[in-house]
Amino acid sequence: MSNPIINPENLVYEKSSVLLDNTMHYCPGCSHGTVHRIVAEVIEEMNMQDKTIGCAPVGCAVFIYNYINVDFAECAHGRAPALATAIKRLNPDHLVFTYQGDGDLAAIGTGETIHACNRGENIAIIFINNGIYGMTGGQMAPTTLVGMKSSTCPYGRDVQLNGYPLNITPLLAQLEGTCYVTRQSVHTANNVKKTKKAIRKAFENSMAGKGTSVVEVVSSCNSGWKMSPVKANAWMEENMFKAYPLGDLKDK
């Protein structure tokens, strides 16, 4: 007898076939799970599962390959754009993307990020900016806001001591090699839809050989921020979006 609930006409959501069944290790309220789902859905919709090579970061998303069912190369901290450069040049018919946090992309890997973008590598960079080091336990990130507390700036980020937050995405938008630079978030259903569109566009650009696409996702890290998921989202809207306003920075 068929289950009266699971009928095609009742189906409003289905897990992407490109997502694996492993239980995610992310904290409840974390943005990574949502962005992973979007990436998997876009790969499925573009029918690119067998042609995709992902570059995993160091950080909470280091285990992305346990969740998104495509081939992955796990990169050293910050080096994903260098790997992606070679992977795409040697395998031009493949969809190549990096998935990087703020410490990975905007601190230790700043050089690799800027030069890959400047060469216009035909890759997509997904940049999760939550203003903190999640995996190592809540240390200051390059994007930590002024006054924001972390375990290595326990009294709040002090510009005299720590310098200013690095707003790297507008910098990347200035480079000739980037074709699409956008800043999104996944804290509401509407924003999830917009982020999905942005990632789809970034992936399509890569396959069309238009240059480097950068999708920054301003994200919450409620554990690192020491807030409830709901409060973290509200705090993000109030503070993070002021420093990192959402929207397209470049679309050529």
Binding site: V70, R79, I87, E112
Partner: protein, 357 residues
């Protein structure tokens, strides 16, 4: 008839790489090896064999481009000189941890630090003992001529992919810059995508429906699994040590004294052997070609026959430690070396050997 060319060692490396079907070269300029990338760029192999050549923004980026290319099963390489190779060490450790085949060429110059641009062999420890973190080895080939620079490219790629251990050609500024006659290896086609999938089932080539996703990684948080990975790697190292040792012997059969030298130090030492032989002194020379795996067995065999051994190195005495381990105290082992980019002349070596008689 085979065509003979007159080439610099660095040029020979570049041309041999194209001929042996390399898929990619990623590098950053540094003296005394910049001719490798210059030659590749002038050759434009992307128009002929389809080989990719890219000037990276740093040695760090270069080695991770190599990591990326190797992750997809491609035959990839980089080259640099001592300070640049130091920068690459994190990546070398990652390559070893992920069991990725590739080729790193180090045309050594004197150090430490920025040092000098003149030839040296002071990166022996870094190359053979692991310059990065973790328990790992590289297959290290030491060419002593421009011909060997050309020949070892294909050999290095072959050994590296056979054992999934990164290989290194450890040369120096003298071999890189000097010109000699050389016969380049024959052209070999690059591997097709199908061949790579067949030969490298582990590679990140895109996940088809019939297999799990391939993950190239050196990460394993479960210590029991991590130890198992290490044990398996060490077992592979033991096989390499048992089967891939290469060396050259010169007038060793009746030798009372043995000089042990590699690379350009071996070229100079060969002249010293000839001078000493003319004087009636029975000297031979053993030249390790693989610095790892080190020819310990044959050296311990000679320890039963000769009165003493002398290592000649362009450093403060590095390979001598491996020689002493092989000799195990049976005969005295001395070292003669010059540092900082100074290359000894044969007479100095003759004197050094006479002193220990």
């Amino acid at each position: 008839m085979e065509e003979v060319s007159l080439l610099k060692g660095n040029e020979a490396i570049a041309l041999a790489a194209i001929r042996c079907g390399a898929d990619g070269y990623f590098g950053y300029p540094i003296t005394p090896q910049s001719e490798i990338m210059e030659t590749l760029m002038a050759q434009k192999p992307w128009e002929t064999t389809g080989m990719t050549v890219l000037q990276a923004e740093s040695e760090v980026a270069s080695i991770y481009m190599v990591y990326g290319g190797a992750s997809t099963g491609k035959k990839v390489m980089t080259s640099s000189s001592s300070p640049g190779v130091s920068l690459m060490q994190e990546g070398v450790s990652f390559l070893c941890g992920a069991d990725l085949p590739c080729l790193v060429v180090n045309v050594m110059r004197g150090g430490p630090g920025l040092g000098t641009i003149q030839p040296s062999q002071s990166d022996y420890f870094q190359s053979t003992k692991g310059g990065g973190h973790g328990d790992y080895k590289l297959i290290v080939l030491a060419p002593a001529s421009v011909q060997e620079m050309a020949d070892f490219v294909d050999l290095a790629f072959t050994l590296s992919s056979k054992y999934r251990i990164p290989s290194m050609i450890l040369s120096d500024g003298a071999i890189g810059q000097m010109m000699e006659k050389v016969i380049l290896p024959p052209f070999k086609p690059r591997q097709t995508a199908e061949e790579i999938i067949e030969q490298c089932p582990w590679a990140a080539t895109g996940k088809p429906a019939n297999r799990k996703n391939n993950i190239i990684s050196s990460l394993e948080l479960d210590p029991s699994k991590m130890e198992k990975k290490n044990v398996e790697r060490q077992e592979r190292y033991r096989i390499v040590e048992a089967t891939e040792v290469r060396y050259d012997e010169y007038m060793c059969e009746d030798a009372d004294y043995l000089i042990i030298a590699f690379g350009s130090a071996a070229r100079i030492s060969q002249n010293a052997v000839e001078t000493l032989r003319e004087e009636g002194i029975k000297v031979g020379m053993l030249r390790p070609i693989t610095l790892w795996p080190f020819p310990s067995k044959v050296i311990s065999k000679y320890a039963e026959k000769v009165k003493s051994m002398l290592t000649v190195e362009l450093n403060a005495g590095q390979m001598i430690e491996d020689v002493k381990l092989a000799v195990n105290g049976k005969v005295p082992v001395l070292h003669y070396g010059r540092m900082g980019g100074i290359v000894p002349n044969p007479e100095e070596i003759v004197d050094a050997l006479k002193k220990q008689m």
